[in-house]
Symmetry: C2
């Protein structure tokens, strides 16, 4: 008999509760379709039973390649109901990158939208661990290889209820692959306990209520939508699906569905504010933004339209947001420039997290003087369990008893952190990580390239974009355009540099190490920060 | 080295965070005094160190006999910082009852306000385990026996920081004594994990935010103020102390402190609505009520004044509130009578709790038909660890794998529970438990009493009050008034019956068992429920 006073923490209990409390309420809006909470729970049970009937069990990995469709939201609960593990795959990755993730995670099953699976035609027969591919056909797209239709897959499962519980709250619920500096993505393991607590944090800091109508501008495949997949379900709000970020569509849904909340990187907010459809929000909206500090322009524009901005910061390794720029008394009344300077800070830890620190190389706190630079480090229940099947990388990330973010910040006298630079060779573009090393490898594989260096440069829309500096081999004349095309053929298109500058030589140390900071100093000379 | 990704859950982290994030913000208002969050944390550290210097250590119990004063709020953190246990004592209990609690809990230290300690003059030299009594003098009251002045006690402690953490989240943080049916109060054990999670539940369901200004109408000694002591601290709101429930004072503080939230039994709301000072709230107020269903009159009156009512239900054994009457879409627009009928339900489990059930004697769910009666049972992280030093009572309360509330309810088709009666011989008067057996024992000790029965009768102000039916010994003429005085001399005054009805005989079964239901049927004949 289970203990009377102990329940393993799991987001499964969130869906169980909302199905009990709000059975007839709209859980998911998908175009003209409405899925109620009791249907969402029933479909979750059915999907879990179909997975079990397909040979999946506790600990097994199931990969999903989907945009923000109802099945993707349900995938945040169905594998968990088996004790299995969701692997959400970024739909913008190249086929080879996706193959790597499927192989590395050892996914037994791949479920994807047919129009996305179609891109995998070249690798579908080279998947080492996937025993079946299931296609969700919303567009009539052909995959070019045989897949199990989703309905046929579901038909294998029964509606027999499964308990909405997990045997151990430290069990893995999801693995999210994220690009690190080494080029190959690493699988960040989330636990039931961590996602449960971070989801409560999201509810509290984004001020969700049962009246929340949450628009899915953020991809669910990105860090499980910052745990909002679980949080909005827990509070009994309504999820509004948005398969593609399109400003006109967003404005239309904001009106028609009476949206109250969405999460988006500042880049999305810029497109929204500048869309011809922009107009005052019909009811107060809370926008939670992360990935880059919101600019004064954006804060002012969104405020004028009736939205309040909450600025959070975190990494995939911290279940998404880990800090929030809590407003201090007096901040709301400040002039917009001053307010924006305040809101641009990454802030302080979530209520469910341990205090975030900024440390030097010896793990000592740096002075809280808004000037000294140190690395942001975190610990607590919303730090990942580790990198899947990669104890070396986990040990390196956890050295000194804290997770090392690789982000360089000043620490304000009031304890707020404020990012200034990045120690890792990572570019964050539209909220997605791009490894400079990976881009450099792709460039270097061009036969005309002698050597190259890729850095982030500031970009109005995407925050940061990669820029490459290339030295060609003697006598070779490959154009920047040709090199960019070469890269696009090899890795995800969004990772290819927008600009390739042909140079005679790269700045180097006396020992021959490329001095990227020299390149960065030039490109960022008008900016206070070295990240955007 | 502690795990990077695991922190033991503890409300200590709430005060740590608020002191870091809001050091200069008012944490506590106490008349004209303002205590900021950094001071609150510093005083907590000082109090913990003073306790350590006085010989207290992990697991030791510390009793507090205080009204809602800053020291009482700080007592919710200081012993915990040592790994010690807070025993909050109801200030309305009789000296003998308090002596029992101090003895049973094995409290080493007693901290109390001198005007309350004065009542213990007769028992102060008979405390078996208490090695020291510390007096907080706010009124110049003499205790009549020697106590350590609070400042002198604090002076023993240093300001040396202690980590805001606990070594095991299942460690006991508090013991709350509650009257059961057997007359002697039982010590309900709360854990760090349970209080942490229930505090998050309070934040979410009472919709607290960092802007919360919370008025302490609810006694902190009552079930740790439903965990709001920890919750409001966690969100960084402001606590407004109120040592005594006085409607004029409440209305004055509501205005002067711009109160946004308070918790109170309906009886308090009735006095508020009927006070000459009643007027519209200067800003929207959320009132969380429990202990009895709010009446249509109260819902309407409070709504007209600008307050929204949240109805919760629970017991000391469930860390206070365990269920909340979540509004369904459409409820806010209902006519007030219909809305009140809906809001009178105890509702559904908290987001952090397991589903509440209503069961028959065989632990089977009763039909959800709004008619069948069953017992409300609960389980999950916010069910007590057990009764202190009372495994038999714990086993009995936990039979069948659930905590047995003793409350009888119907189950609505929509899954909401709705209390109808109580299987235990407990009267709930103004939110406090009164054991009918305890009152009967006190009455029976009068030399003129042959036998007696005590039941709850409905009361407009207190919800329920005890009424006694007494059969006198032949030839004896003790008056009702005399019997009431006799009881008041023996147990807490609020437990004495308001009315004693002298009868010739009590209704009994053929085997001689008193049929209280016959008495109840008569007294409650105009009521839909047998509880109020």
């Amino acid at each position: 008999m289970p203990a009377v006073n102990r329940t393993e923490l799991t987001p499964l209990s969130f869906l169980e509760r909302s199905a009990l409390v709000y059975p007839g309420k709209t859980a998911i809006v998908d175009g003209d379709r409405r899925i109620t909470y009791d249907r969402m729970a029933a479909r979750t049970t059915r999907m879990a039973n179909a997975m079990a009937a397909s040979g999946l069990g506790p600990g097994d990995r199931v990969a999903f390649l989907c945009t923000n469709i109802p099945e993707m939201l349900i995938a945040h609960f169905a594998p968990a109901l088996l004790g299995a593990v969701l692997v959400s795959v970024n739909v913008r990755l190249s086929p080879e990158e996706i193959r790597y993730i499927l192989d590395h995670s050892g996914a037994k099953l791949l479920v994807g939208e047919t129009h996305l699976l179609a891109g995998l035609a070249g690798i579908a027969d080279r998947l080492a661990t996937v025993s079946e591919i299931v296609g969700i056909d919303r567009t009539g797209a052909e995959t070019g290889f045989p897949v199990t239709p989703f309905d046929e897959f579901l038909a294998r499962g029964s509606d027999r209820p499964r308990p909405w519980e997990v045997d151990d709250e430290d069990r893995i619920i999801a693995i999210n692959y994220t690009s690190g500096t080494t080029g190959r993505p690493k699988g960040v393991m989330f636990t039931h306990r961590g996602t449960y607590l971070n989801a409560l944090g999201e509810i509290i800091h984004s001020r969700h209520s049962p009246d929340s109508v949450y628009l899915w501008t953020l991809p669910m495949f990105h860090c499980n939508g910052w745990c909002t997949t679980w949080g909005v379900t827990g509070i009994g709000g309504t999820h509004v699906c948005l398969p593609k970020v399109d400003p006109a569509e967003i404005w239309s849904l904001v009106d028609s569905e009476q949206v109250t909340h969405f999460n988006a990187a500042p880049t999305v907010l810029i497109s929204l504010a500048n869309a011809p459809e922009a107009h005052p929000f019909p009811r107060p909206v809370t926008i939670t933004t992360a990935g880059a500090p919101p600019s004064p322009t954006i804060i002012e524009a969104m405020g004028n339209l009736g939205a309040e901005i909450v600025h959070m910061y975190g990494l995939t390794e911290t279940y998404g947001p880990h800090t929030v720029c809590e407003l201090q008394p007096g901040v709301p009344g400040m002039p917009v420039d001053e307010r924006a300077r305040f809101l641009a800070r990454q802030g302080v830890s979530f209520i469910i997290a341990e205090p975030t620190r900024v440390v030097d190389d010896r793990m000592e706190d740096i002075p809280q003087d808004a000037t000294a630079l140190g690395e942001v480090v975190m610990r607590g229940n919303n730090v990942m369990k580790g990198y899947f099947d990669n104890p070396e990388a986990t040990g390196e990330a956890f050295r000194g008893g804290y997770f090392h973010s690789g982000d360089i910040a000043v620490w304000h006298p009031d304890g707020y952190i404020d990012l200034r630079d990045r120690s890792k060779d990572i570019i964050i573009s539209g909220g997605e990580n791009i490894s400079t090393i990976e881009v450099e490898k792709a460039i270097a594989s061009h036969p005309a390239v002698l050597e190259c260096a890729v850095i982030a440069v500031p970009h109005d829309r995407w925050g940061e974009r990669p820029k490459a500096f290339v030295v060609r081999k003697a006598g070779r004349t490959a154009s920047p355009h040709e090199i960019i095309d070469h890269v696009r053929d090899r890795i995800a298109a969004f990772k290819a540099p927008d600009e390739v500058e042909i140079v005679e030589s790269l700045p180097k140390t006396s020992t021959g190490k490329i001095q990227k900071f020299v390149l960065r100093d030039r490109e960022w000379k008008d900016h206070e920060r070295r990240i955007n």
